[in-house]
Subunit: 250 residues, 2 copies
DNA sequence: GCAATAGTGTCTTTAAGACACTATGAG
DNA sequence: CTCATAGTGTCTTAAAGACACTATTGC
């Protein structure tokens, strides 16, 4: 059999043996901890297992649109709440045996959201919940979703450094301390409040002042904090680098 | 229904017919200029048009393996030469009408190679060539490949900053000046030789000395240069940042 | 008053960049 | 010899981090 004949025999136009799905690594911050959105699968394979929200891409549907739709469908979130969620493509996963049904290539997406209400499980799921990322180690996920989550978390941690991503995790108006809490939560390190404050204000376009302050001081006292909104920068320069990365470099 | 029964009753044809391809943005440096590998399509659609090397992913073939195979097939390069080419996934492109034949999702990959010989066109291509990136503006590419190339170039420029990617464009042993030429070529800026030299040696794990020097001085004179090989760093810290990025931040 | 926090001042250390300079080798 | 280049020295500036301190609020 010649190479050309071989290629013909497996022509995907005649035998669509591959399916394309999207999976969504949705992250938010609740109660001062980073949370990941998981659904409990209502159907095989991996029935009853926890997994990332996702599903098949529809004909004539863009990849990003499919991610948004699946996120909305499987969580019951929509409208204004969906508008404040930021989506971006993460990577594609296509190991031949990653799904027992058939060959499936999944285009994983990342979603970053400010604090959202508890999700309502959609049709494909028997449950949906925000799980603290710290509790992930004790929960097995379906398919290769643990790998996808790990990649997504590393991408999120990295993007905090050189993009204004952190502002996606807070409300439209926020204090510097709230922004610092995002960094501390996602990176898992405490940061120096004074130096962080000065740094955030010194990066052009990261935040802009609203001229307002919080109505009250903090719960345990302290002065009212100035309120800011996200600035117009798309890249941070100079970046906010994670402290103590020298060891992870090799 | 048990999980096993479900899998047996599962019919892949119930799911929408989407095909998955890989496309490869292969970059190398020839004659001091950044070059991109293009093939001339031998079959419709876009017959006769220049395009990225790529093709359908085979059953039971990993995405990265498909990219490597397509690169090898459509260029006639293989063996030891292929070993020195570094592949990584770039992003996936799945706009519904990006291919006139049917719904095709393409998982684009980046390939970085030291200077390779002129490619030999494979079965799907009537020609293959390394095209200087500077000449891209005057050549229309098939499908959405211009967008993919733009994304790939930006990714390459960015990865030079914080990874040892530049060492993939030179031979196993190289001088600091050769490494600097890579940065200058990919970024399109001249760099200060003295400062670059010191910086490269100061970043832990970027290069390690071979103890050797070049056999002769440069073509126009000058001392022999010390030879280095790639170090063991996977991330550069502190990074080698592109000069003058303040303007592109917004 | 006391504790906690917002925000600023200042100093040290590190890194980046400008510039000068020496040494080496091809022609 | 001349000229281009490898490699180093030194100074300036920018940025990161440590630490101290004041001011403002809740309790």
């Amino acid at each position: 059999m010649s190479e050309e004949q071989f290629l013909r025999a497996y022509d995907p136009r005649d035998y669509p043996a591959v399916a394309v799905t999207v999976d969504v690594v949705a992250l938010t911050i609740r109660d001062g901890a980073l949370h990941l959105l998981l659904i409990q699968r209502a159907e095989p394979p991996f029935e009853g297992c926890w997994a990332l929200p996702g599903g098949f891409v529809r004909p004539d549907e863009d990849l990003g649109a499919a991610a948004r739709r699946e996120f909305a469908e499987e969580t019951g979130l929509g409208g204004e709440q969906l508008r404040r969620v930021h989506f971006e493509q993460l990577a594609s996963y296509g190991t031949p045996d990653r799904d027992p049904r058939m060959r499936i290539v999944s285009v994983a997406h990342l979603a970053f959201a400010p604090d959202l209400p508890e999700p309502q499980a959609g049709s494909d799921a028997s449950a949906a919940q925000w799980l603290p990322v710290s509790a992930l180690a004790s929960r097995q996920l379906a398919f290769d979703h643990e790998r996808i989550v790990a990649d997504g978390l590393e991408r999120a941690r990295s993007k905090l450094e050189y993009t204004p991503l952190a502002t996606r995790f807070v409300g439209d108006e926020f204090t510097i301390a709230e922004l610092r809490a995002v960094y501390e939560t996602v990176w898992g390190h405490p940061l120096h409040p004074g130096n962080f404050h000065r740094k955030v204000l010194s990066v052009p376009g990261l935040v802009e002042s609203t001229g307002q302050t919080t109505a009250h001081g903090g719960a345990k006292g302290g002065p009212r904090a100035k309120l800011y909104r996200a600035g117009d920068a798309r890249l941070l320069h100079p970046a906010l680098l994670r402290p103590g990365r020298e060891e992870t470099v090799r």
